[in-house]
């Protein structure tokens, strides 16, 4: 992460500069926050050195844990005046390093913003502080027969503020949409401490629709403190089909056939054979270990609706060559079917010292192509890769297994990951479906976007944050970084004339 400095003297100089800056910022912020809300001693700030992407670590200058909106605004005003970078942080479960601290910046932990402010059952909305956990919203809504639809795997821990920052998905977004589709309003502060509100309680707001820019902006446009979400009526029932295939291509075709038949399942997930073996060993759900791929297809709604849809999906799966199909008999069995899929990450943690989770999206019909390409990469990089997919929306989570104690393995894993992302772009997809770019995929962004496109995105950031102090260096790579990386942008979309060949 940090470029090696040439000499020990330079390092010492840098250290003393950082210490001086730290003292200056602490002195300023301690007039705004209570003493317990400010951490800067190394032993106190260690837990904040990384997020869910643990391979990248950085000691923050200072960690601030404000408790009120007024404190957030005052802190931002001070940081803006002192030109101190600000990195907002929720639960720290992000998988792309979006909350990686800045060496000279304040890590702004919003953990104390954990109250549900209002749950309006009649309007089917909830207004919550940004630090409320994703699952806590659905738990609070359940007595009213309602739920909050996006359900990332980390939903017991991750916060709604983090979900908004990343535009998180989950296993049910094929039917229910992403965070963006389920958020009505975001309140927060601009870098200069001015309060701001995007969206509203109505279905649209006046002027440009800025909510899609803010949702998924990885903390680079504003600091979010409050989110109003839509709640949906809980489906009366849900059932799940587990289908086995002896060939990965047949499983991929079955996914396309279900969609082609006009069915939008509540969930449509795939696991390959090595992944299935890993999770079966972990949860003992009775998965078919002989299958080349397993599909989980869920239907939810009224009992009549679910019966109708399960029947139609069984027909399609059988016609697509499923070697075995099983429909969940009851809720316990349905949850058992899902237990392996939901535990794919911890199960991978049991079979390898470390794993790197990729997150690209490809057009559904290219599923088999990417899987076969990944198989070839496994032998090329000498590393194993197990695969889970949100097959319904083409979002892949290849888990590259490696041992981080071996520097060469880490390096090969990174190269392997980058090649999966580049291949995904070449197949018409994107380098990140739901985890965000953070620091992890900066290099891959150079492949997906042209220099003009990246420059336009930097200009969007400056329209919100002219000082460029909010989470600097994340999400959108600089021109220089892309030039140094030497990766060629893959052209896509409309062109005025054929590209000249460049060699």
């Amino acid at each position: 992460m940090n470029a090696a400095l040439p000499t020990e003297n330079a390092t010492a100089l840098r250290r003393s500069e950082i210490a001086a800056r730290r003292a200056e910022v602490v002195a300023e912020l301690s007039t705004l926050l209570p003493p317990h809300a400010l951490l800067w001693q190394r032993e106190d700030t260690v837990p904040y050195e990384c997020d869910g992407l643990t391979a990248y670590r950085q000691q923050p200058l200072v960690v601030a844990l404000p408790e009120t909106d007024a404190q957030v605004a005052a802190l931002l005003r001070a940081c803006h005046r002192l030109k101190v970078p600000v990195v907002a942080r929720g639960a720290g479960t992000g998988l792309s390093g979006g909350a990686l601290p800045h060496e000279l910046g304040v890590t702004l932990s919003l953990a104390k913003f954990n109250r549900i402010l209002k749950l309006d059952a009649a309007a089917r909305t909830a207004s919550v502080q940004c630090g409320v956990r994703n699952l806590a919203i659905s738990e609070a809504a359940a007595p009213h027969g309602l739920f909050y639809a996006p359900d990332p795997s980390s939903q017991i821990a991750c916060t709604i503020g983090g979900n908004v920052a990343e535009n998180s998905g989950g296993v049910h977004c094929l039917k229910y949409g992403l965070t963006l589709h389920n958020v009505l309003r975001v309140k927060g502060y601009m870098i200069d401490g001015e309060a701001v509100e995007f969206g509203g309680e109505a279905l649209d707001a006046a002027g440009l629709d800025l909510l899609p820019l803010v949702v998924g902006s990885e903390g680079m446009l504003c600091v979010i403190t409050e989110v109003s979400v839509k709640l949906l009526p809980l489906p009366q029932t849900a059932r799940c089909i587990m289908a086995s295939f002896d060939d990965i291509r047949k499983a991929g075709d079955a996914v396309a056939n279900i969609i082609g038949a006009g069915i939008i399942p509540a969930g449509l997930e795939m696991m390959d054979r090595p992944m299935t073996a890993a999770v079966e060993d972990f949860v003992h759900a009775g998965y078919d270990l002989d299958a080349a791929a397993i599909l989980l297809c869920e239907s939810d709604g009224t009992a009549e609706e679910v019966d109708e849809e399960i029947g139609r999906m069984l027909d399609v799966l059988t016609a697509s060559g499923a070697t075995r199909v099983e429909v969940s008999r009851d809720e316990a069995q349905r949850l058992k079917f899902w237990s392996g899929r939901k535990n794919a990450f911890p199960a991978s943690g049991r079979i390898s010292p470390d794993y790197m989770c990729m997150d690209s999206t490809i057009p559904r019909k290219r599923l088999a192509d990417i899987l076969l390409a990944i198989q070839q990469m496994e032998s090329r990089y000498g590393l194993r890769c197990v695969n889970v997919f949100h097959a319904g929306d083409g979002n892949l989570h290849p888990l590259i297994l490696f041992d981080a104690n071996d520097a060469d393995q880490l390096h090969r894993a990174e190269q392997f990951g980058a090649e999966i992302l580049e291949t995904s772009v070449k197949l018409g997809g994107t380098v990140t479906g739901e985890h965000g770019v953070g620091v992890e995929k900066l290099g891959s962004m150079c492949v997906q976007f042209s220099s003009e496109e990246r420059e336009q995105m930097h200009a969007v950031k400056r329209a919100f944050d002219a000082s460029e102090l909010l989470n600097p260096g994340k999400a959108i790579p600089t021109l220089q970084r892309c030039a140094e990386g030497g990766k060629m942008h893959v052209r896509r979309g409309l062109l005025p004339f054929a590209d000249l060949p460049r060699f």
Binding site: G145, G207, V437, E452, Q456, A463, R492, P496
Partner: protein
């Protein structure tokens, strides 16, 4: 699905944008011209983009269609219908020749909006020309994509102020297997209450409209779900042909209510057709004039001669905003004024995409 497509109609557009930016000549971007009544008055030289036309790719099993801006909505919808698919948000055409680019720029959705989402929810990606004449591609053709800022979705409802929308990729959905329309004779307050109750239940409620003592609702979804809901909800079944005509009239603003509103606007200068966007559970709005309620209460149409400020204040109190949708007198501003810092962000974004201020100048707000 090819990764790129070539369109020779682009090169002259790019050249003209560069010249316009250099000379700071405003350009009035034109598609089918069916929504020119909407927004502030257009300024500048006509900039026709209908030459950029055609469906670039359509993959029914991917649920994605990519079309150039000048493609007519008629062509797009017919192509989707052949494969049993549709744009579920029912964008209004408002006349013959409505285009895909115009649909995105206007950002308007029809009766099903509250149930299925709006234009921006179905936008997966876009290619646009910015004020420097650079052809930029954001988003893509896949449902889940969080690489970089989601610039394409901001184009929905931007009225062409950020750039020329050249091509868009849209999520499409299968047409529902069953539809039924029911009507109930109830007053406005009861209708709002009833809609809130139904909306909180897992019913396939797809559209609603209340006007003049009559609530009409549309159920849409799996046959079993629609049939079960019909029994649970009661009311009187509307025959399919009448129902289709009714929802079409509502979508295209040529039904009885909107025809009366248009006549009133023509005969009285102070008369305006307002679109009021409010939280769905907002009680009756105490405003003089004739109201029609859609989107389970979240969209209310009002034609009224009430002063602009009076309408805006009442709607703002309810937590919403009011747009002058059609009027001969648009003084006071078509769109509700923005407060700081949103006004500043709008100006800065405009500068970021269109530094010389050539695209659809003043169409959204006078200073943009």
């Amino acid at each position: 699905m090819s990764m790129t497509s070539i369109d020779a109609a682009l090169a002259p557009l790019i050249a003209r944008i560069r010249n316009a930016s250099e000379s700071r000549t405003p350009l009035d971007i034109r598609g089918g011209g069916t929504k020119r009544f909407y927004g502030e008055a257009a300024q500048g030289e006509a900039f026709d983009v209908t030459g950029l036309s055609g469906i670039s790719s359509y993959e029914p099993t991917e649920l994605v269609v990519t079309a150039r801006c000048g493609t007519t909505l008629d062509e797009l919808e017919a192509t989707l219908a052949e494969k049993g698919q549709c744009l579920p948000f029912e964008p209004p055409h408002f006349g013959r020749g409505a285009t895909v680019g115009g649909m995105v720029a206007a950002g308007l959705a029809g009766p099903s909006r509250a149930a299925v989402g709006g234009v921006r929810d179905y936008l997966l990606g876009a290619s646009l020309l910015n004020g420097r004449g650079e052809l930029l591609s954001f988003g893509g053709q896949v449902m889940k994509n969080v690489a970089g800022y989601d610039v394409s979705r901001v184009l929905a409802g931007s009225l062409g102020t950020l750039g020329v929308i050249c091509e868009v990729s849209l999520k499409v959905l299968p047409m529902a297997s069953a539809t039924a329309t029911l009507r109930f004779e109830i007053d406005e307050a009861q209708a709002l209450q009833q809609l809130a109750v139904w909306s909180a239940q897992p019913l396939p409620l797809n559209a609603s409209a209340w006007w003049a003592g009559m609530l009409v609702i549309r159920l849409r979804g799996a046959l079993a779900a629609v049939n079960a809901a019909r029994v649970a909800m009661g009311g009187e079944r509307v025959d399919d042909a009448d129902a289709n005509a009714f929802w079409h009239g509502l979508r295209e603003h040529d039904d009885e209510y909107f025809a009366a509103a248009h006549r009133a606007i023509e005969s009285e200068r102070a008369m305006r057709l307002w679109r009021l966007s409010v939280p769905a559970t907002t009680p009756l709005l105490a405003l003089a004039g004739e109201q029609l309620i859609e989107w389970s209460g979240a969209q209310r149409w009002l034609y009224s001669a009430a002063p602009v400020n009076r309408v805006r204040e009442e709607v703002a109190r309810a937590g919403g905003h009011a747009t002058i949708f059609r009027a001969s007198d648009k003084r006071g501003g078509v769109f509700a004024p923005l407060k700081s810092p949103l006004d500043r962000i709008h100006r800065e974004l405009k500068k970021a995409f269109d530094p010389a201020g050539v695209f659809n100048r003043g169409r959204l707000y006078p200073d943009l």
